[in-house]
Every structure is written in C-alpha cells, then in structure tokens.
C-alpha cells in the first residue's frame, strides 16, 4: 500500500495538495480549451481521443450540435480505466487522482461553454504558436497535479497495464500509447499537420512537466584539480561564502598527489571563480556540470523539498 499517500484530512499538507490539484486541473483544462481543441490537435491521452470523437460525432446528437463534449468523453474513459487499473494493478490510484480527472473534465466543458470552440484567441493562422503554448499550459497544469503526488490517470493506466504484462519500460510504453492516439488523429482527420503539431505539443508538455517539478536550476557542480587548491578554497569560503569538499586524488600520469575540490556554485559565482583560478593557476583543470537539483546548505534544503 505504499503507492497511495493519504494526507490527513484538513491538515496543511492536505490543503496544499488539493490546492495544487484544483489549480493544476484548471490550467490543464484551459490549455486544451484555448490552444488544442479548437485546432483539432490530438496530443495523445484520453482527451486526445475525446477530440477525435468530438469531431466524429458532430451533428449526431441534437443536444450536442458540435459533438460529444471532450471533457465528458474523457471522464467516460477515465472512470472505467481507473476501475480496471485498480483491479489489475492494485490500489495505486488514490482519491486525488480521481478528483484531478473529474475536475479537469468539468473545467474543460464549462470553459468551452464560456469561450466557445471557434478560435477563442484568434490563433487559427498560427497553429504552431497554439501548439507550443498548449504544450506549456498543459505541462504546467500536469506538473502541478504530479506535485500533489496524484497520477494523471487516463492513457497512462493503459501503459501501466501493458508494462505489467510485457515488462517493457513504462516510459517507452507511455510514448507508444500516445503515438497510437496521435496516429488515430492522422487517420481520422487525414491531414499531416495534425500529427506534427501534436508531437510538438507532446514534446513541450514533457519538458514543462520536468521544469515544473524540478525547477530550472542555474547551479553548476564543479570539480577543480589545481595545485593552488588552498588559494581557491579561500576564495570559495571567504569571498563566495560557499562550502565544498576536498577529495584527495592521484594524477594518472605520474601518481602525484592531487587535491580535487568538489563544490557547487551559481552562474555568477562560477564566472568570478573562473577568473580567479585563471589568475592563480592558469593550468588548473576545471570541469563544470549542469546540476539539475542541489539540496543542502546554501541551497534549497532537502526538508523544504520533501515537505512541499
């Protein structure tokens, strides 16, 4: 039962989680209503299928002249998928996941009623722009939902079930499932624009989910090999006010003892330090790596990250 994480009702954590879900679902729904649905882009997922079905059922029902509402259809797929998911995979999907997909469907259909389906932002001439911004808003909304530790449900459940039986990696399967839905869009709409715009949306969505969950970090991890390590240490500790660790090493060429400095700096500090190292030891060896995430003294603490 380690998969379900329930916060105590009405605790601070509970409020934060549900606030994230409400805001995330709203942003997610708005992304679809403003940027995706009006242009028949099919970016995978249950709503992708919903968009296809919406077009196919145009004029079929007198009370839905433009077709079955996309949110409602998404909900109609999510409910059985979640039930099957729980049967096959065990209790993985908590109440937060269910609240998330119900809210998304409700927001999507309400917003559609308010703003209409006919090119609400006037982007019909620039669908490329719509797909980029659709990806950004959808990614941001999903990122917030994931932050609350809810899953997105929907087509990911299909991927999880296939993963269980085939033992293929889940990430790959999610891409396959979404690609099948994208190609469904191509088959139905018979226009190559659709899958290309859809892949742009999927790509941008993935990037923005990562950024939302990890943050954009401008910090760099450094390894410095220099004979002037004492001077460089003083600069880091006294002027930059950062910490660091000495790691003893041996030169591969002649086995000479070397001291490696392991430290983490931001971009500006890096520039200052590089200039300084260049003055005291132009032959120093410095490798700079992009750090996705730094937790600990002088940076965001691990405690902040886990409890947010």
């Amino acid at each position: 039962m380690t998969f379900i994480r329930n916060e105590r009702l009405f605790s601070k954590k509970w409020f934060i989680a549900y606030t994230l879900i409400v805001i995330g679902s709203f942003i997610l729904a708005a992304g679809f209503v403003f940027f995706i649905n009006p242009y028949n882009i099919v970016p995978g997922g249950v709503y992708g299928i919903g968009i296809v079905v919406h077009q196919l059922t145009k004029g079929l029902f007198p009370f839905w002249p433009t077709g079955i509402p996309i949110g409602l259809f998404g909900l109609a797929l999510n409910v059985p998928l979640t039930i099957i998911g729980i049967k096959v995979l065990g209790p993985r999907f908590g109440i937060k996941t269910v609240v998330g997909f119900i809210l998304t469907s409700v927001f999507m259909d309400l917003l559609t009623m308010i703003v209409g389906e006919n090119d609400p932002l006037g982007l019909a001439k620039d669908v490329f722009m719509a797909s980029v911004f659709g990806g950004v808003t959808i990614g941001f909304g999903l990122g917030l939902i994931f932050k609350s530790k809810a899953t997105s449900g929907g087509s990911d459940i299909v991927a999880m079930i296939i993963a269980k039986y085939t033992r293929l990696p889940l990430g790959q399967l999610m891409i396959y499932v979404d690609s099948v839905i994208v190609l469904l869009g191509l088959v139905v709409f018979r226009d190559w624009h659709i899958p290309l715009y859809s892949w742009i949306v999927i790509f941008v969505t993935g990037k923005v989910i990562d950024i939302t969950m990890q943050g954009v970090s401008y910090d760099k991890t450094l390894f410095i090999v220099s004979s002037q390590f004492e001077l460089i240490r003083d600069k880091i500790i006294n002027d930059l006010n950062r910490g660091g660790t000495f790691i003893p090493g041996k030169g591969m060429f002649n086995n000479a003892d070397k001291t490696i400095i392991f430290t983490v700096l931001n971009r500006r500090e890096l520039a200052i330090l590089e200039e300084y190292i260049h003055q005291v030891d132009p032959k120093a060896f410095v490798t700079v790596m992009e750090a996705n995430e730094i937790l600990g003294e002088g940076f965001k603490s691990l405690h902040d990250k886990i409890s947010e």
Binding site: V127, F128, G171, W192, H193, L196, Y197, W199, I200, D219, T221, R233, I236, I237, G243, G244, T245, F246, I247, P248, I261, F262, T263, V264, M289, E290, A291, N292, E293, I294, L295, G296, E297, S301, L302, H303, K305, I306
Partner: protein, 297 residues
C-alpha cells in the same frame, strides 16, 4: 589506418552496420524531400548547395549532391589519407538515390503546406535521426565536412569551428540566392535541431541521474542504496573545506524513481545532507548497459 574501421563482410556486425546506413539514409532523405527542399531551406552541407542549385536551375538534388560528393571524397582521400571507407561511400550514394526517388514520388510537394517553421523543425529532427544512425555505423558523413577537414589540415584551426564556418557560408549562399531573410533563420533552426537530435541518437536519452551526496549518515544511506535500491556506488574520502573535518562523499547513479525514494529517505535521517543531482547522458557499467553492449551494438 586507425581511422578506417572495417567490419568483416557478411558478419552480424556487417549486416547491422549496413542496416543502420540504409535506415539512416532513408530518414535523411525523407527529411530533405518532405520538409526541407520544398521550402528552400538551406541547412548547410552539400545538400544545402544542391537545394540552391535545384531551385535556381532545376537540377535534381540527389544527383547534384552525388556530383559533389564523388570528387570531394577523392580529393579528401588524396589530401587526408584513407579516412573514408566503403560505408561512407555507400551512405552518400544511397542518400542521393533515395532523395531523387522520393522527390519523384512526392512530386516536390512538402508534407505540410504553409508552415515552414513546422517543416524546419521536423526536417531537422528527421535528418538528425538519420545522420545519428549513419554515425552509429561508424561511417562519416562525407560532403562538406571533407572541405572543413582539408582547411583544418592547412590552417590548423579547430575542426568543429571550421565545420560550423563552412555550413554558415552555405546558409548565406542560400540567402544570397533566394534573397529572403527567412531562409537563413529557418536554416539555422534546422541545423540546431539536427545537432540536438544527433546527440540524442548517439548518446541516448537517459533518465538516469548522477548524484553526489555529502552526509554524516553515509553508512545508512549506503545501506539504503545497496539493499533497497539494489544499486552500487563509490565512497570518496573527502575533507570539508571549511574546517578540515573528514567527510565521505557518496557517488552513485540512480533512475528518477529511485532518486525520489532516496531523497525521502535522506530527509528522514539527515535533513542537513548536501546532495547534487546531475543528468547522466549515458551510463555504462554494472546495473546499466555495459560498455561492451554499447560498442558492439
């Protein structure tokens, strides 16, 4: 002769190499024919020049490129020695063939009309994926890179810069020939996407993270990594720069999900731990793909 890597004929490796070349050249050709040529995008290279000549004089793109590639390879071999193997030759001959065949099939029409931005991105992605596969077979791309190699030999300028220089000159030729500022801008986008996709194909997209952990509770963290996550790791014996106290640094690689579990565990036992998380482009070794697998696939 260390440059020339020959696989023995009809071995498994040989078939694999040539399958990569056929698939790669086909993807490259799809990219040029359906996304790049119809929009007059000139993304550097021999194909860039051929696209310009095609639009000015109606010459077939593939044949024109072949007419450049053959003498360039001969001159390259003369000046630089036997660097270009039969795989390189097979690569550029197949590309020319596919490009001209597909052009007839497509009727010189783009896959999607009225969106050059979309086409420059997807063209770059397809060509990048194809070139990545060709490089995987250890063939070189030939073409304009040979010019850069020859200039590098006589001027001693860095090769990477020269390749960019040669491509930029070709992009500017496109601008001069068509007199439209959108051409170089779309072309640079294509070149950028191509580069990113080539890297992704060659080193793979990895969701693994390299982490360095500095914590006084290193024994407990070690146990968690070894027992629960089933991963290995290395202790580095360091010394705090501030007060010279001995520190153990844990160096390990985990995937995204394991990272979340490990962070939660570290927070419980040592909230003041210091950890830095880096994207690992490629991990080879125990618990991951082995170096042997990589070099033999």
């Amino acid at each position: 002769m260390a440059f020339l890597q020959k696989d023995k004929v009809f071995t498994r490796k040989w078939f694999y190499s040539y399958a990569l070349i056929v698939a790669g050249t086909f993807l490259v050709s799809l990219g040029y024919v359906y996304f790049i040529t119809p929009y007059r995008i000139v993304p550097g290279g021999i194909y860039g020049i051929s696209i310009v000549l095609h639009h000015l004089y109606g010459w077939p793109v593939g044949l024109t490129a072949l007419a450049f590639n053959i003498p360039l390879t001969i001159i390259g071999t003369r000046v630089l020695g036997p660097r270009f193997g039969s795989k390189t030759v097979a690569g550029f001959v197949l590309t020319s063939l596919f490009v001209d065949l597909l052009s007839f099939y497509s009727g010189f029409k783009p896959l999607v009309d009225s969106d050059p931005l979309l086409s420059s991105l997807f063209g770059g992605a397809l060509i990048g994926a194809g070139v990545g596969l060709i490089f995987k077979s250890k063939a070189t791309s030939g073409g304009s890179d040979v010019i850069a190699m020859i200039i590098a030999r006589y001027t001693k300028l860095p090769l990477g810069q020269l390749m960019m220089g040669v491509d930029s000159v070709i992009v500017l030729i496109g601008f001069l020939a068509f007199g439209d500022w959108r051409i170089p801008l779309y072309s640079w986008l294509t070149i950028f996407v191509m580069g990113k996709v080539i890297d992704a194909v060659l080193s793979g997209i990895s969701y693994e993270k390299t982490i360095l952990i500095v914590s006084d509770k290193h024994e407990e963290i070690r146990d968690k990594i070894i027992r629960d996550l089933n991963r290995g790791g290395t202790f580095l014996h360091g010394e705090g720069m501030y007060n010279g106290s001995p520190k153990k640094v844990i160096f390990t690689v985990v995937n995204r999900r394991e990272l979340a579990m490990l962070e939660e565990f570290i927070n419980q036992i040592d909230p003041k731990a210091f950890l830095t998380v880096m994207d690992a482009n490629e991990i080879l070794g125990q618990g991951f793909k082995s170096l042997k697998d990589k070099l033999e696939d």
